[in-house]
């Protein structure tokens, strides 16, 4: 799951001419550690939704990689 999210995050970083990441950890903060701004987060929701069919920000802003995974795992169980 982390690897799938990493692909989407790296795509955004690449388009911004930022350095791509080798690895994600659950505690990584999307804004503070990875440096995503609100435009980037909007893009991330679209990219993840097109793969998983889940709007990760539907119930408010989430902050960390772990929170994304939790939402996707909960969504998959339903």
């Amino acid at each position: 799951m982390q690897d799938k999210i990493l692909v989407h995050i790296n795509k955004i970083l690449e388009n911004k001419n930022n350095v791509q990441l080798n690895k994600l950890t659950n505690s990584m903060h999307l804004r503070d550690d990875i440096g995503l701004d609100s435009l980037d987060l909007a893009e991330l929701t679209v990219r993840i939704e097109s793969e998983f069919g889940i709007d990760i920000f539907e119930n408010g802003i989430i902050n960390t990689v772990g929170e994304i995974i939790k939402i996707l795992e909960n969504g998959a169980k339903k």
């Binding site: 804004r31 609100s38 435009l39 709007d55 920000f57």
Partner: protein, 410 residues
Amino acid sequence: MVQKNKLFLVDEGSISTYDDLIKDLNKLNKLPVIINDRSAYKIFLHLLASIIYDFPVTIIDSDFSDNEVKALGFSENDLKGYFNIEHAVKVNELNIFDSFDNTNNWKLTIFTSGTSGVPKKVSHNLSSLIRMVKVDAKRFNNIWGFAFNPTHIAGLQVFFQAVMNWNSIVNLFGKSRKRIYQLVEKYDITNISATPTFYRLLLPYENEFKSVVRLSCGGERFDQRLTLKLQSIFPNAQILNIYASTEAGTLFAAKGDLFELKPDLKGLVKIDNNELLIHKAYLGKSDIFIFEGDFYRTGDIVDVIKKNPLTFRFINRKNEMINVGGYKVDPLEVEEILNSHPFIIGSRVYGKKNSVLGNILIADVKLKDKISEKELINFLSDKIQMHKVPRIYNFVDEISVTRTGKIKRL
């Protein structure tokens, strides 16, 4: 009397008091004709000075590219223009607002996102800008969380509301969620005015912030679900929905999504074919306004709930502007630039509903030669502001059109 060291503006890394502001006002010997500063402090300082010395000014975003500035009708020399202050006024806390009552030449020109690819130029006189400002003793201790771009009308109106009451302003614009909450707590912020997009970034609920007593929300369609969630974060806040536009400034406020016309606006607002019309007496000045008799068509479509007193709810915009996080983007402007790329045959830019920004921009692009998403983003971001750059690209064989032959957008 303002107490010594009362904070004027807290902006990341720089804190200034009203004493500093008055000192800096007294140091000025010239003023820019066009304010395009990055620093909120300098924008506010020059804005106040322009009123004191009754010089007309223009404010533009500091992140406009050279081409965007040119498209507004300015040359590089215009950006370097100055007014010389010849008879300096000794500004102090008693006389700082004296000139507010008698400006003759002062007007403020700002730009609003246009519908034809060129931003609309709108000039306001001071009385129209500060029409909704309320000054009284009970507001003296308000502390504002400043959540708009200071170059835009909503930000300017918050600025005047704050400064004319000697309130402290804490800049929250563009800050992260964590930082915003730290600032709310540290400075005991009491008032915030912002767009729904700004408030959405504050969710979900984690802690209560009791210092905030008033939140106002404007610039995008009212969001009932968001309001409920905000109420749990700010339990002591009264939440107001504001209707404002660059053309008219703030016009209406409501507790829910229903606006009721106040008696003093009677005759100045009317509704024709579900579109809101505003009397010219309530607008700034612009060559682009087209009046029907004495009324301006706002392009805002409303649903009339009651005739007397007139009560209505906003439905949407008549034109095709796309609201990206409170910024209006004209898809035609973006398409025009995309189409100027030698590898592109045609494009369609449209908004997709998004839980972070309200809408996110998508571009369908028909290519002549291969080009990557990254190259397209770099090409666009050299020419237009970041919020106008589409984030998702679909490379398509044909650009879809509506039955009337227009490009389909939503």
